[in-house]
Assembly symmetry: C2
């Protein structure tokens, strides 16, 4: 009996509302709940999943936040058409995760892997002392064309060393799955700039064409800043899709 309980816990692994959320999301993706129709009411879902209404509501508000549904008081939860924003660049997503979802023939070439100092001025980040880091520079090639240069600065205080084979694979899955770090949130800015000579050559750019630069700082769940990233995109290969809910700017006086 105890063993059974343990196994049950293990197979669940997630909270009840997480399981429900994923189940509903999958049903939406697979057309069990088609676009434009209403989900079963919260009370019906309670019966379906044999749970309380607050638990159902937690699952639904996660789906709301992700743009799967829109709730209308007095009527129900309507399924939105998400076919057009499948590219979740808005969240924190690694290159490898992206090309898995996008079905592209992608390749990563590691250009550099060495100790360095974080160029904090680039990130508009004020720091009294130098921040030692592992510097990784990589070129992303999709369908034979160079598309992105990624420059990662991984803070040494948090992660001592990054093996070469990891750099050519996925940093994120190494951090999360192998080291067990919990990546939690990031800030990100997008600007358009003139490329350096090196960038121009690597990306095979015509003369005088600009590049899109995405700079981000990534934090762990305990608020430790552990990574600075600079991504140089070919402008003609760059696209950023977003789903946003309206939040009024509120003022006090």
């Amino acid at each position: 009996m105890k063993a059974f309980y343990r196994k049950d816990v293990k197979s669940a692994l997630k909270s009840k509302y997480d399981v429900i959320q994923l189940d509903i999301a999958n049903k939406i993706i697979h057309g069990v709940y088609p676009t434009g129709t209403f989900l079963p009411s919260e009370n019906q879902l309670c019966d379906l999943y044999n749970t309380s209404r607050e638990t159902i509501r937690k699952a639904l508000s996660a789906l709301l936040e992700q743009g799967f549904i829109q709730k209308i008081q007095g009527k129900g939860s309507i399924v939105l058409d998400l076919s057009r924003f499948v590219f979740p660049v808005s969240g924190i997503t690694s290159f490898k995760e992206l090309n898995q979802t996008q079905n592209m023939r992608a390749e990563t070439r590691v250009l550099k892997l060495e100790d360095s100092i974080v160029p904090t001025q680039l990130f508009n980040f004020e720091s009294a002392t130098d921040i030692p880091a592992t510097f990784i520079e990589r070129l992303r090639v999709v369908n034979g064309e160079p598309v992105v240069i990624d420059r990662d600065y991984i803070v040494k205080d948090v992660i001592d060393e990054v093996p070469m084979n990891v750099a050519s694979d996925s940093l994120y899955s190494y951090f999360e799955d192998t080291l067990g770090l919990e990546i939690s949130y990031a800030t990100k800015t997008i600007t358009v700039e003139s490329p350096s000579h090196q960038e121009q050559q690597l990306l095979d750019l015509p003369f005088d064409k600009d590049v899109v630069v995405v700079r981000s700082e990534t934090y762990l769940a305990d608020t430790t800043l552990f990574q600075f990233t600079e991504s140089i995109h070919r402008a003609d290969k760059f696209s950023f899709a977003d789903f946003a809910r309206r939040k009024k700017i509120k003022k006090e006086h």
Copy 2:
């Protein structure tokens, strides 16, 4: 007694957790809860606001989503440094709201206001029939320099007419405050493109410089699509800041 009750309701206007959320947000902004410190525990906040823990937790998760705080199980809620992402372009925010928060000398010139059909192909939007709309083209000038061209297509089925004086002011406050529409969510894509001759002239662009194009579709709370917007930005004046929480891509098999 009845009058007093009414007044009380009116001054509240929002839900309890909304009021608490705003209060805590303001206290963070004004340094009552400084960056890097912990908020009072959820139970202490219950006493402070004389409410239940679930209500406090709703307020806190809103603050979590907006990047004000990070919660750590077993420890508490820590205040994040939000000084560097005050530019909430990620949400749906109008030009006027933006320049109010940013303290710039801004001006809007209405170039066109006429009936038109939505160029759905630009928005990658498939529609069997033409969508009649009011077309508004505006040039945004900040500190004497042309910065953005905004092209709005406002669907006639939802909003019959847009007065001229509204076009030169704020569309959003007209929709929300005057017409009482509830703007709920939007999709948005960012790309880099070559400008048309007209765009090049209006934005006073050097030869061969690209522009940043932000295209969005905006929906009401009842999921009605009511607005298509195309914003042409001078690349050197464009900056997009984002705060994102990590969401793992989960797969079923």
